[in-house]
Amino acid sequence: MDLNYNEEELAFRKEVQDFLAEKLPKRIADKVKNLQRLTKEDMVEWHGLLNDRGWLASGWPKEHGGADFNAVQKNIFEEEACKAGAPRVVPFGVGMLAPVLMAFGSDAQCAHYLPRILDGTDWWCQGYSEPGAGSDLASLKTSAKREGDHYIVNGQKTWTTLGQHADWIFCLVRTSTEGKPQQGISFLLIDMATPGIEVRPIILLDGEHEVNEIFFDDVKVPVGNLVGEENKGWTYAKYLLTHERTGTAGIGFSTEGLEQLKRIAKLQKKSGRPLAQDPYFAARMAKIEIDLAALRTTNLRVLQDAMSGAASPVDASMMKVKGTVIRQAINDLARRALGPHALPFVSEALDAGYNEPPIGPDYANPIASDYFNNRKLSIFAGSNEIQKNIISKLSGL
């Protein structure tokens, strides 16, 4: 038992820190730290800088141009990136599509698409959820009918994150209605420029445009865009879901969120003294700090298990639940900390270039909005209810 990082790991951490200090543009880091809006250009720029260093595709094998980080390295990278205010790498191409292509796609598909993910040519989005199929993915209805060399796609996808920027979408589509719902699903790559595709924004409760509905009306997709075999898409999607689950705890975000919360609690006053000294508020913060300290260790334990191949899917579900509960609780406390200053909200101030003086303390404006936005954490990517179903099932119930 040894709770310290070894020298190799410490050296890697130093390397990451140095890279971030040197390459991460301050302009972008400031936006992230101030919870401002990132433009597509900001994200593309950061992807490019990471790719220059060979770290954009942190989990890919080296032969495809990846960094081949192990689980502990990924975690160190996440911690440091969050601390420095680096934007999150948009995961759809790098983290979601690519593993599926490598596992189930043809060599030609890999050779074509993977480099374009790395160099930013293609921005990918994910076409899984449908209006009637949220957590119950297998009930999806978007159909792809084979006609000659093409599939004709009709239907609707929803909750498509950052789909407004996308060049391509990978979709689960129904190619057969025979057998169990899971059996007739295929995994299809679709060029967003194809006629018949319409992207409509969904505005979330905080007023932000982050997700979209995507409508397909007789969209012609070449059969060459099918990944793997027809009607096997469910298997690939499940593979991806497992892949996606590591790192869902968001420890890095919570750690940074807690630091920010502590700063706010020192600056906000209650009865003339810092809110951080109020016994009730201090207790709320301390409880979360205790929980986060424990979860950080749970996360490292799971990572070690993952590296030795012993990770259980129940771990991933537990990390998802507790990780999002903690992250949301930090958002909740940040909002509470502001007192009446949580009320004013100037949406324009989330854009770079807004030059009016802030109303209230300069950190206040995005806090309540961010709290509301992050209610999604316990809903998306497998709701916490679904995760608890999984945990109890895998534990023997």
Partner: protein, 376 residues
Amino acid sequence: MDFTHSDDRRMLADMAARFVREKYTIEKRHEFAASDEGFSREIWAEFAELGLIGAMFGEDVGGFGGSGFDLAVVFEELGKGLVVEPMLANLVAGKLIEYAGGPEQKLLLDKVIGGETLISFAHSEPDSHYDLAHVATRAEKTEKGYRLTGHKSAVLNGDSADLLIVSARISGNVDDEDGIALFLVNPRADGVSIRGCPTVDGGRVGDIALDGVEISDKVMLGDGTDCFAHIEKATAAGIVAISAEALGAMQVATEMTLEYLKTRKQFGVIIGRFQVLQHRYAEMLIEIEQVRSSLINAAGQLDGGRELREWNVSALKNLVGRVGHLVAEECIQMHGGIGMTWEYALPHFAKRLTMIDHQFGDEDYHIERVIALSAV
């Protein structure tokens, strides 16, 4: 002991309910909220005409009610419609005039009740948090009257008020209860600058700088003494009102959730069949009944002695803070993705429920107050 409302009050409640139901769709509400002033002057005029504003005040100042239960029944209905008109601002400021004003000053309420004059109480300051005694704004004696200097923040509808009631310190230290006076200030007076701003839940607040505002003796509300007690009591009225608003919003939020649970399918099953959601729904209902009871307790004590009033009011606000938070988070969660979208009404109720905890003191502030009042 009798928990039924009088016929008059039932009629008042019905009238408010009908108005909200028939005239105040969520689409209109968003439209009003997005307008420059953040509400509709026409709706406000209708409120006046229907007597809803008058129902907030006692007959001696030209109103038609003004008891805790009058506030409660009206605001419960306003809460069901997420009404953005400045009823709360006018209630609290108007109560200050009712409690503290001299005979002539009380006449001002005629125009408030008639909907012609909008008023608001400029009290909270950047470092107040929720402390009612925290007043750093100074009122210095001058030859002609006073000079006001200070900064008021998050003033409810402060950007559209025709008249502000400003608290300022004539003596004592920044957190003293003694030494606070109230002044009627024209928002267009020299030295007053106001920045309006939307709130995250669809309302409006004003950030008000007072830069050596010269005012006459006459605009001091009442005789200038004992103002903290008036502020506390007007705030109590505000808490009863906003808690009733929360109760209304909770009911709509849970009703929408019930409808959703009864219709939405997942894995081929109506999700309302999932026992976890059933129990969590039941737990909300239980807590909402608790809020209703606590509201009755506080409304019934609003015109009573200070200790009973303040204990019950703080107990209410603490409970509303806890239950509002529960209902807001649970209703969104039980809806899933759709509960996160602007287009759907539910999240706007959740946002309002959440932000009510940021007005007149949050859950922690009021638990501390209940403890202090219990120790008396």
